[in-house]
Amino acid sequence: MNKELEHQFVTELESNQNIVHKVCSLYTNNRDAHNDLFQEITIQLWKAYPKFRGEAKFSTWMYRVALNTAITLYRKSKRRIKTQDYESVVFKIKAQEYDDTEERQLQLMYDAVKQLGDIDKALVFLYLEDKNYTEIADTLGISEVNARVKMNRIKNKLRTILNP
């Protein structure tokens, strides 16, 4: 691969790395796993990069590859740590920004999302990233109607987890 392409890719990824970090924090439970998944996503992005011809925004294109890696391509380590044990890398809510109840509520919500299955997490992630249903459906390869139906089911599921 030529140097210029490498430089171009690393620069773009460096400025858009937040997307990848967010996917990693959703799908992993500790810092090692987070870094491991980040690396695999980076490799997959780089492998696919020569075919990326700017037909979409770099960031849009990244969502797809990052989620595909997290859901399908990445081989999860067997030494996975249970949700309860983790020191969350990202989901630390700053105490001064919210009052106690709101902070607690948020933490509960994050924990509930982490308990969802791989596909559900992907939908929630795209929803939180403010993607519309057309994009969500397109990324997952399902119809828009079904994406909406699925999202409603996830909302119900979260409700059950939060209020057992």
Binding site: E14, N18, K22, I43, N68, T72, L106, G117, L140, K155
Partner: protein
């Protein structure tokens, strides 16, 4: 609930500051690293399977097998049993390569999963073909020996047995039993392999597919 998800969304979009930040050099080093993706594992395992069966095929056909009788149909049968495995391995390798090339991380999640599973399916079909062929060859060899040149011991046993049908029946049962044991072991091996490699992929794919029904 809606309010809570909206609350989460607000917080989600404010979290940028708390995210880790990698430097240019750190990312640059990462693109030199080797992938350890499931596709790579599937590729390696499949290549090993093709290699294994190719070895068996070559080994089996280089074995100087002298037909017991020069009847035309025995020759044709033996000849085609030697050629067919190579034609089939060529076909399946080609299909496997085609499927493998189709796997792309830039497809939709569903299509990506389908392509990976299809690639595996090609290899599985090839393996089942071999097992089937193996069973047929065993049967043919057995019949050729028994019909064209039955060993003295066997003819005597049949002759002295209380009932010749019973002896044939026992032989058939033994044959089926051996095939079943071998098939069972292979099945177990693949269950394990699939269990380790493809369990979550299968679950996720089914979940997406279920939506579309």
């Amino acid at each position: 609930m809606m309010d809570e998800l909206e609350l989460l969304k607000r917080d989600w979009q404010q979290q940028e500051a708390s995210l880790p930040k990698l430097s240019y050099d750190e990312i640059y080093k990462m693109i030199r690293k080797k992938s350890s993706s499931i596709v790579k594992w599937i590729f390696l395992i499949s290549i090993m399977e093709f290699g294994f069966w190719l070895m068996i095929t070559v080994f089996a056909s280089s074995d100087e097998f002298q037909p017991l009788e020069n009847s035309i149909w025995v020759n044709i049968l033996n000849g085609s049993l030697e050629i067919i495995p190579f034609v089939v391995i060529a076909y399946f390798s080609y299909r496997f390569y085609q499927n493998y090339k189709r796997i792309s991380a830039t497809d939709s999640a569903r299509k990506l999963m389908k392509n990976i599973l299809d690639t595996r399916k090609t290899v599985m079909r090839y393996v089942w073909f071999n097992i089937g062929l193996f069973a047929i060859i065993m049967l043919i060899v057995l019949l050729e020996v028994l019909i064209l040149d039955p060993p003295q011991e066997f003819t005597q046993k049949i002759a002295t047995a209380d009932s010749a049908i019973m002896a044939w029946f026992l032989l058939a049962i033994t044959f089926i039993f051996v095939i079943a044991i071998l098939g069972g072991l292979l099945w177990l091996f693949y269950r394990l392999l699939y269990g380790i490699l493809l369990k979550s992929l299968n679950t996720n794919y089914k979940e997406l597919k279920k939506l579309e029904v």
